[in-house]
């Protein structure tokens, strides 16, 4: 029997605003001494009231917009109730039925580097909403300690449609989402520090079935995209095994154990917990003004350049004469993608096609910061590195002495054996690497030999 996985993702992104979501405490909680970033509001002292952080709202709208969502011009906050020691008010201020963004999508590509194949995919975004983070619990023996530094930090929750059918898709989508949010500059999106959190919801059905499976398993404690793919793979296999036996996997929450590369049951997920949502009476409804919406759209359109997607990048490099392998590598690499704007500059300012190829290759060979330095030395007029030796210096200090030292080679060359030049190229390049453009070496040796 053939099975197909149905996967949806729930992602939490911590905004790197200066203040928390509902009070003016600093939001930069990571690594700070416990309970030093608190105030009556985020400690939920009697009488304290929440006042929304307008920057956080604007940044949440940016995320919604960047993910192609419809922005709800009329929105509100709601109270989500449950009791837990890290939730000081006994409710979380979140958004229930009128989130900031709905019905979006994010296009992404699944790249196969070996086959050099790119598959275009789309992940539907159900909703984007804004809420506050909880405090942090630390278990120490029989005690549990509570640190409220993180309580009240702004969180954007992104929920996708169950549009993913493989671990590759999940990983590729997450990488694209990560890049988009990073470009917006609204979050560090660092999974290790917790500024990006992820929970996949996984189920499996027979190929050909159209209804969603009657169960789903939520997986927590995933700390990287790689682990996300691994956890998804593990679950898919686990579900298939159960289904083959004619059983249905239990609807539950499981934790990913990265050391053993398995998932472990944490708690059985009953029907949705009754959070007793009602509109937050301490915060008036939010009207997203025309002015705000315009500003958000402008910000997004400046930072997220939809045209500069991988395929467009690839095409523009091919058009500039960059070889296919190089073009592919730059267009589809996550790291190099972010530096593509630098490559773009080269492609526009360098006229000579051979030089363009040189620069792009140099880009690939140098680490990002090194390449920046390289770029500073690039003399567009001369079409070469300004820190290079001049032709005269190269000949005088390196080439000439080499020829003087090897009179036998010079003799052979002059008697018509031009191939001997090759034996010079290697050693000379060893001394001259980074000091001249390699292409010039042969030419200059020949010039000198002709004298």
């Amino acid at each position: 029997m053939k099975y197909e996985p149905i996967i949806g993702l729930e992602i939490h992104v911590e905004l790197c605003t200066q203040s928390k979501m509902f009070c003016s405490c600093g939001a930069d909680w990571f690594g700070k001494a416990p309970n030093t970033l608190t105030c009556p509001v985020c400690l939920a002292l009697p009488g304290a009231l929440p006042v929304p952080n307008e920057v956080a709202i604007e940044w949440a709208l940016r995320i919604a917009r960047a993910l192609g969502c419809e922005v709800n011009r009329e929105s509100k906050f709601d109270r989500k109730h449950y009791f837990y020691p890290d939730l000081p008010k006994g409710y979380q201020i979140s958004q229930y039925d009128m989130p900031f963004g709905i019905n979006g999508k994010l296009d992404y590509s699944v790249v196969d580097f070996t086959k050099r194949e790119v598959t275009a995919c789309t992940g539907g975004i159900t909703r984007v909403h804004l809420e506050e983070d909880t405090g942090k619990l630390t278990h120490r023996g029989s005690e549990t300690l509570v640190d409220y530094n993180r309580a009240g930090v702004p969180l954007v929750e992104i929920v996708t449609e169950p549009d993913f059918h493989s671990s590759k898709q999940v990983k590729a989508f997450l990488e694209e989402l990560h890049a988009v949010i990073k470009q917006l500059g609204v979050s560090d999106v660092n999974m290790e520090q917790g500024s990006m959190r992820l929970e996949p919801n996984i189920s499996v059905r027979l190929v050909g079935e159209t209804e969603l499976p009657k169960y789903k398993v939520e997986v927590k404690n995933i700390n990287s995209f790689r682990y996300a793919a691994a956890a998804v793979e593990y679950e898919i296999a686990r579900h298939i095994e159960i289904l083959e036996e004619g059983e249905t996997p239990v609807q539950e929450t499981r934790g990913y154990a990265e050391d053993k590369k398995i998932t472990v049951s944490q708690r059985v997920k009953e029907d949705a917990h009754d959070y007793r949502y009602f509109p937050e009476p301490d915060i008036p409804p939010i009207h997203v003004s025309e002015e705000l919406l315009q500003r958000v759209c402008e910000e997004v359109d400046t930072h997220i350049q939809p045209a500069k997607k991988a395929t467009a990048r690839y095409d523009s490099m091919i058009g500039a004469g960059i070889p296919a392998t190089t073009a592919f590598q730059i267009a589809y690499s996550e790291e190099l993608q972010l530096l593509y704007s630098t490559v773009e500059k080269i492609l526009h300012t360098v006229e000579d096609s051979a030089q363009r190829v040189f620069m792009v290759n140099a880009f690939l060979n140098y680490p990002a910061t090194g390449f920046g330095k390289l770029l500073e030395q690039w003399d567009t007029k001369q079409g070469e590195m300004s820190s290079y030796l001049s032709k005269e210096e190269a000949i005088k200090d390196f080439i000439k002495p080499a020829l003087i030292a090897d009179t036998e080679l010079v003799e052979k060359y002059k008697s018509g054996n031009v191939g001997v030049i090759n034996s010079l190229i290697g050693p000379l390049m060893g001394k001259l690497k980074g000091k001249i453009d390699p292409k010039n070496l042969r030419e200059w040796i020949e010039e000198e030999l002709k004298k």
Binding site: P40, L43, A44, L45, P46, G47, A48, L49, P50, V51, P52, R79, H81, F83, P85, P88, K89, G90, Y91, V146, A272, D274, R276, Y277, F278, P281, D282, I283, P284
Partner: protein
């Protein structure tokens, strides 16, 4: 010195004339409390050391001529108001030992104006109640008859002002909790428009209902206090940016030609005969001063209690969720029966499957009631009603039947649904017990209350047959 007859205004006059010092006033207040509070039980915590210290500081300012608006005047804070460094319990054992690290905005403003907080006032625990009998520390008593309630939930505040322990006291009004006690104790109780005075730092009961106000001896004092407490607060997202008027300028303005609406739906058999007589006489008084009395219908108003008791417990159940004993106070098992009752009711109405039928529907009816008020004010300038259908009842009379107790708020809670401002002014007496009259104005038109309230007060003159027994 006899405090019993002083008002904020008259005491300030004495201070300015240097006939008395702030320390004198503070000491007189403390002495009065010392003498009578064991019978009255209006005070939960007396801040004598701080009060005397502030009194001395105030006197220096009077000497230098740098005195502030309410400088040196002894007041009380309902114990729902957080006061920095001073125990705050909201009259509940659950907050035992809680000493706030900050003060409510209203407290800060009164403090900055020089008012001296003498004591934290008794109340129904968490403001749940209409008689003061739900206090975890025993009920406050009515200074006119110690076997009767001073009204609630601002029971201590009303008893303290009426008996001269303090010259004014703050209160909260979620469903009549300032106006009812004022009517029961021959004092003036103001419920401002929702959002007029910041709620920051005040123990929340019903977040979309709570109004921050005060109890004073006169309408003039009420206007003076509102000038200090009113105004936008960036720490309260529901506080209004509507400009604050110089309310004292609206006292003693003419009221001829004022259209006064009597709410038809309120004029039923449920009002005690004596109370009704006082009300009718009051209407006559207004008429003879040039007011036009018009009967007006607010057709959804009788649904107010039902709407109130669906919405408020819901908000209560949510607002009390933070009291777990983890960060302050003690655990939830110490909630008294009324608090538990409201938490359970509220949790139920918010529950999945019930939200639409209860909270959802009640919210819609609330909107209709609010619209009734807004539409009424297109026909009339002011609405008028008795504050309470009865005289102050005896302690123990209604405490066994929560529903009976809830019905004492029938004339006062609709205004909290609508958010409109209202004031209770002493109107007369029945068998030696105080009766109040309630004026209601459009949103953010408190000045209209002070105009008609002060005129009524002046024309009414002294109320005979009322005597404090402490």
């Amino acid at each position: 010195m006899d405090f019993t007859n002083c008002t904020l205004t008259s005491a300030r006059d004495l201070l300015l004339k240097k006939e008395v010092t702030s320390v004198d006033l503070v000491q007189a207040s403390l002495d009065r409390i010392h003498n009578i509070d064991k019978d009255l039980n209006a005070c939960l915590f007396i801040d004598s050391e701080n009060a005397l210290k502030k009194g001395k500081e105030s006197d220096v300012r009077y000497q230098n001529g740098t005195q502030t608006k309410l400088d040196g005047l002894p007041i009380g804070y309902k114990d729902a108001f957080t006061t920095k460094g001073v125990p705050t319990t909201a009259a509940s054992k659950v907050l035992s030992g809680y000493i706030p690290p900050f003060s409510a905005t209203a407290v800060e403003r009164l403090d900055e104006a020089g008012a001296i907080g003498i004591a934290k006032m008794n109340m129904d625990a968490w403001a749940h109640g209409s008689s003061g009998e739900n206090s975890d520390f025993g009920p406050a008593k009515n200074p006119y008859d110690l076997s009767r309630t001073p009204g609630g939930s601002s029971s201590g505040s009303a008893a303290a002002v009426a008996s001269g322990e303090v010259l004014a006291a703050t209160g909260t009004d979620t469903g009549g909790s300032i106006r009812l006690p004022a009517a029961f104790t021959n004092t003036v109780g103001l419920k401002p428009t929702y959002g007029r005075v910041s709620r920051y730092g005040i123990v929340a009961m019903g977040s979309s209902f709570d109004c921050i106000g005060h109890i004073t001896k006169t309408v003039a004092d009420s206007a003076l206090m509102l000038e200090v407490t009113a105004g936008f607060d960036p720490r309260d997202a529901t506080s209004s940016k509507t400009p604050v008027l110089e309310y004292t300028k609206y006292l003693d303005q003419p009221i001829t030609g004022t259209k006064v609406g009597v709410i038809r739906e309120f004029m039923t058999d449920g009002i005690d005969e004596g109370v009704r007589e006082v009300f009718e006489k009051s209407l006559e008084l207004l008429k003879s001063n040039g007011c036009e009395i018009i009967e007006i219908s607010l057709k959804n108003i009788l649904d107010s209690m039902a709407v109130y008791y669906v919405l408020v417990p819901a908000e209560v159940s949510s607002n009390l969720a933070r009291y777990t004993g983890v960060r302050y106070g003690i655990d939830r098992s110490h909630f008294s029966p009324e608090a538990k009752r409201r938490i359970m009711t509220g949790t139920f109405t918010l529950s999945s499957g019930y939200y639409d039928a209860y909270y959802g529907t009640a919210s819609k009816v609330r909107r209709l009631i609010r619209d009734d008020f807004v539409n009424a004010f297109k026909e009339v300038d002011i609405l008028v009603a008795p504050t309470s259908p009865t005289v102050p009842f005896k302690l123990g009379d209604k405490s066994a039947d929560p529903l009976q107790m809830y019905l004492s708020d029938i004339f006062v809670c609709p205004m909290n649904l609508a958010g409109v401002p209202a004031i209770s002014v002493p109107a007369g007496a029945v068998d030696g017990l105080p009766v109040g009259i309630q004026f209601i104005a459009p949103h953010f038109a408190e000045e209209k209350l002070f105009t008609i309230g002060s005129a009524f007060e002046r024309e009414r003159g002294e109320i005979k047959d009322l005597k404090i027994v402490v």
